[in-house]
């Protein structure tokens, strides 16, 4: 009498919980997902190709526009990859300022993740509270480099300008109130029964699968693997910072939430250390007039808020453009674990799975 038929539906590309323009092809058996394939490419702009046609100096503006929630972290990777290519040593003060801004960016990115993830699952209050703190960080971005989202914060060889006057006060004011704000979010969510029902045990991804798929960032650390490039291959001033890598072993959405919350605490700690130990001196290295690459290729990986972001640059002799430019985007690699997380689960849980991966489509499609 009843025919048991699987139904195929699209989630997205214009769905508020797909964080941009992600389309997910789902095959459903009732409410259970039997088949799930993410379809990407709706936001493709050809950033890699554009950068190959522009000089090393100009390329940075495109990295802003890849992962627009963590533009500073992208800028840092780009600047450091170029410095590696040209063999430039950055002054220590610039390294410290870079580290600090990068951590602020991590906070901003995690806050926007918390806000949207909670909103997807149905907790509206956290959304507004998290955006309130993010606003302060964006104000600091504006004070430092003049722009809030597309920062173009660093230059190859250091920074364009030193910290603006009054920046220290802004940082201290923020650090003084931030722990209590974190507590507020945790009071709202950590024990909340609805939040726990929606996240505990949902979208599991074990350590083995995560490593096999190349997943990095908080998703990997929530599976119990303490891999963080800031510790494994220290860059900027991270070698001098004292911080921990929070890990969990449950490997579910709730564990990823806890890992990210702890990461925010560690970020605040790093910022405090940067402020305390800020060395004096110049912020820009002496550069040759025209940048011509020395070695032929470099790969430089940094720990962006979403995972390992790697820049692969091939320099041509006598040319001021990169011959080949490739980005290893964390969101792109992390997204391929979505079928593993979602298949066999309920359709309502795929929203939690997309949210917990913390993807930004600008970076995935590039």
């Amino acid at each position: 009498m009843f025919k048991n038929e699987e139904m195929e539906i699209n989630l997205g590309p214009q769905h508020p919980s797909t964080h941009g323009v992600l389309r997910v092809k789902l095959r459903l058996d009732g409410e259970t997902i039997t088949h799930c394939r993410p379809m990407i490419g709706y936001l493709h702009r050809g950033v890699e190709k554009i950068c190959e046609n522009q000089s090393f100096f100009q390329g940075q503006v495109w990295t802003d526009r890849m992962d627009y929630c963590s533009a500073v972290a992208n800028n840092l990777g780009w600047a450091e990859a170029n410095e590696k290519l040209f063999g430039i040593t950055v002054p220590r003060r610039a390294q410290y300022i870079r580290t600090m801004l990068n951590e602020f960016n991590r906070l901003a990115s995690h806050l926007i993740w918390l806000a949207t993830h909670a909103l997807d699952i149905g907790a509206m209050t956290v959304f507004l509270y998290a955006f309130r703190e993010r606003e302060d960080i964006l104000d600091m971005n504006e004070a430092f480099c003049g722009s809030r989202l597309t920062t173009t914060a660093f230059r190859i060889g250091g920074l364009r300008e030193d910290l603006p006057p009054g920046f220290e006060k802004m940082v201290q004011k923020f650090l003084a109130k931030f722990p209590s704000c974190l507590e507020e979010y945790e009071n709202l969510l950590s024990e909340n029964r609805i939040w726990k029902k929606r996240t505990v045990g949902v979208a599991r991804l074990g350590a083995e699968d995560a490593i096999a798929m190349g997943v990095t960032g908080p998703v990997l650390r929530a599976a119990g693997v303490p891999y963080d490039i800031r510790k494994a291959f220290p860059y900027a001033a991270y070698a001098e910072m004292d911080f921990e890598i929070p890990t969990r072993t449950e490997a579910d959405t709730y564990a990823r939430y806890l890992v990210r919350m702890d990461e925010m605490r560690q970020s605040a700690r790093i910022i405090q250390q940067c402020m305390d130990g800020m060395p004096e001196g110049p912020v820009m290295a002496k550069l040759p007039k025209i940048l011509k690459p020395e070695v032929n290729e470099v790969y430089h990986a940094t720990e962006a808020p979403k995972g390992e972001i790697g820049y692969y640059l091939v320099g041509e002799k006598g040319s001021s453009n990169p011959y080949r430019f490739h980005v290893r985007a964390p969101g792109f690699i992390n997204l391929q674990s979505l079928p593993k997380m979602a298949e066999g689960g309920l359709i309502a849980d795929i929203v939690a799975a997309i949210g917990t991966l913390d993807i930004v489509l600008g970076e995935i499609d590039r």
Partner: protein, 166 residues
């Protein structure tokens, strides 16, 4: 037993509600007092937005004390601009030793406000102003030149978009 009690009495929900309640009370008792002009959200069109001194707004050409255009057509800004939105034509002017821009076209709709042009200019002849209300109805309004109502020296006219204004 403990678990049943916890299920029956929603402590967790009460905890969350107490936070929202506290914030609500705080805003309720301090809102609309003169001393607090805005809390977190500013009443933007009525209250002027606070802009940091380094804010990157629209590209503006500067003039020196004699009212002469400072730009000397070294083409550095044109070359560095990542989106190629500046077009300069070199020319001569009587009584001026340095080259003089006959044309300085700036297509604002493609500018990404990166400030690379200002950085590259060795003669301090351009800045990014603090304007951010740059929307307009017509595409032509984004093409700025040396002359015309929308030019490179004055701030852009702020568009009026609400229907009630007509």
């Amino acid at each position: 037993m403990h678990k049943i009690l916890r299920t029956l009495i929603p402590f967790d929900i009460a905890k969350g509600l107490s936070i929202t309640g506290r914030h609500f009370a705080k805003v309720f008792f301090t809102a609309n007092r003169r001393k607090v002009p805005f809390h977190i959200v500013s009443e933007y069109p009525e209250v002027v937005a606070r802009i940091q001194p380094r804010f990157r707004g629209r590209l503006t050409l500067l003039k020196d004390e004699q009212g002469e255009i400072k730009c000397v057509c070294c083409m550095a800004c044109e070359k560095i601009c990542p989106t190629q939105v500046i077009t300069i034509e070199k020319g001569k002017k009587e009584g001026r030793k340095m080259p003089f821009p006959v044309r300085y076209d700036f297509e604002m709709e493609r500018c990404i406000f990166c400030e690379f042009c200002v950085e590259s200019c060795g003669f301090d002849s351009i800045i990014l102003n603090h304007q951010f209300e740059l929307a307009a109805y017509n595409r032509e309004d984004f093409s700025l030149g040396l002359e015309g109502a929308e030019n490179m020296f004055e701030p852009s006219q702020v568009g009026k978009f609400s229907v009630a204004d007509d």
